[in-house]
Symmetry: C2
Subunit: 368 residues, 2 copies
């Protein structure tokens, strides 16, 4: 089940305000989805995320397939029930992870042979198998199994990945039956505009309820990413949600929105948090630095989150130095809240027809 | 500031119900104090602890003195402000830690020379210095600096430690001026009844507002601990709170209460939680065990805590196997809640004059 309405188009950019209704509720877009790789947004509970106003999270098919396994999660009543999350979930397909995390053995048209990054065990994933897994997980949005060519790669490698991604997308569609789960296609094509065009057209032909832009933010220059987004914006149907996978930083989010993206996900807020780094209005700060040892101000003066309302930089720095888990938890909370609030601010700016001035102010104030 | 009232004495044991009022509120006793070694009860926020009804925590002078330092905490406005905890705090004196954690260099009547367990740096703590630190931390209860002889040790070693502990207690008292902080004496004497008697009498002479029983649960047989507690109960003034340091397990808590103890602290609930072990009504369970892989029941069927209301053993086991920090957090929460609820149940049983039958039932049901 998926319903998507564009509420407002920005007058001077491709930014757009939308409402995306899925089985577990309605989401205002553009939206940032925190990542719960292994059925938890690291260090945080669902209640923490509800408190921030998070309406959708992402979880990883590759990881959950390997551990604890789709059958176990199905037995628990699906992923929502297993992890006690009552709002929406998007599951990726594992396509990116088999190419980036596992020891890849062989790709054929039939599927991908790989060794688990956990215990080296041998596995074979096909589009059919991935559909079976994602339907067992019972996410609200499932992603097609795709081939994500590395960056850099040759034109021919990228072309082959596009062709295979299209074939696999068809097989995914043919094997997808859950009506309470929407299936998105993933556009590949690396940094080659005509391949991106071909991939988009192929998938549009298959008529998915939403489209993802994959294989970006994997090392290519930012300009390439922006160019691809501008192109994709021109190609994709206006009435379908667009999801930029694995992105990103605050500046990437605002640049993506400007180019018509509706959905984002990224591990950065929690990963940075666990490494002692926090987002602030003026850029990232490394809270573990000695400079903050006796700084009793909050992480971000302007932030209304639980952490900034209750704890100082000095205290969090102490927790980091003392290797206390609470440091990870507090900084992860703040960073996810920060990106969620950034998206709220962006949505308000679009609604009030001042997205471009919001963009300018952000770019002036935020050092990256 | 300290006020203590015994509300009710159990008719068939030394158990007693009390109200202990300190600068940051009133506490029902007997009470279990979760340990926040480094200015945090590991993995948990103050809000988590408020939610469980925790009224007092313990923090460690030795650790805070080494990192981040008493002056920094004083600059933050004291420990309550630094760690954002608005209820009561008891600080130990570091006596136990310099003997158990640090590389001990030399004990003289003047004080203790030791090397930090963190960076090997040299330090010298005296009763005067410890009073200075604890008053800077601004806890509600401070402990005297004591010498904790190891177990086993000779009678003469234990005697010397008792004599020094008394001398140091006097110096602590002479150097303690904060009126919003109560100073407790610590009874030593190892497993030697006459030394315990001597230590208790010495400290009673100094007239502290509360007395701790130190140097127990350090390896001696349980029978020795019980014997010492029974003796101490006979010696200590009835109208002062009695605190059994570093204890303990559920069975130790109920045995301690039976022998007249009002206050306890222990790192076990959080430490066990981080190691994948949970308390249940019928004993500890190792949640990481394969037996729980598809057990979708809560950690403890009878527990009303946030964790047991929302998560299954199977999910928490998955988090442990996947090395997710949330596992530590959820099990720490449950275990602290469990001990706090045990103390609530004990208090209700004393109030309703059925402590001994509660004790019998507990001992029958709880496997240890």
């Amino acid at each position: 089940m998926l319903q998507f309405n564009v509420i407002k188009n920005d007058s001077s950019s491709a930014a757009r305000l939308g409402k995306l209704t899925l089985t577990h509720g309605t989401i205002d877009t553009p939206v940032f989805m925190p990542v719960g790789t292994q059925a938890t947004v690291k260090t945080l509970t669902p209640d923490d995320l509800y408190q921030m106003g998070i309406k959708i999270i992402l979880s990883n098919t590759y990881h959950l397939y390997l551990r604890p396994g789709a059958d176990l999660i199905s037995k628990a009543g699906g992923l929502h029930s297993f992890m006690n999350w009552q709002r929406n979930i998007l599951t990726d397909s594992g396509g990116f992870q088999v190419f980036s995390l596992s020891k890849l053995r062989k790709i054929t048209d039939q599927g991908v042979y790989f060794n688990s990054h956990i215990d080296g065990s041998k596995h074979f994933l096909t589009p059919e198998k991935v559909m079976d897994i994602e339907q067992k997980l019972g996410s609200d949005i499932a992603m097609c199994f795709d081939e994500c060519a590395p960056y850099p790669c040759s034109y021919d490698e990228a072309l082959n990945a596009v062709k295979r991604t299209t074939k696999w997308a068809r097989r995914c569609k043919d094997n997808h039956t859950r009506e309470d789960q929407a299936l998105f296609g993933i556009i590949q094509g690396n940094v080659f505009p005509d391949l991106r065009r071909k991939s988009a057209m192929d998938l549009i032909d298959l008529d998915f309820p939403g489209y993802a832009i994959g294989g970006l933010s994997v090392g290519e220059p930012k300009e390439d990413m922006y160019k691809i987004l501008e192109l994709t914006h021109m190609l994709l149907p206006e009435d379908k949600p667009r999801y930029l996978m694995g992105v990103g930083t605050p500046e990437d989010l605002i640049e993506g929105v400007k180019r018509g993206v509706d959905m984002f996900d990224c591990v950065l807020p929690t990963r940075l948090g666990r490494h002692g780094t926090a987002y602030t209005k003026t850029g990232k700060i490394t809270v573990r630095n000695a400079a903050f040892a006796d700084d009793f101000s909050p992480v971000d003066e302007e932030c209304g989150c639980y952490v900034c309302q209750n704890y100082s930089r000095a205290y969090i720095r102490h927790l980091i130095k003392a290797e206390e888990i609470l440091a990870h938890r507090l900084l992860s909370y703040h960073n996810v809240y920060f990106l969620n609030r950034l998206m709220e601010n962006i949505r308000t700016a679009i609604e009030e027809d001042r997205f471009c001035s919001y963009y300018d102010t952000f770019m002036q104030e935020y050092k990256f």
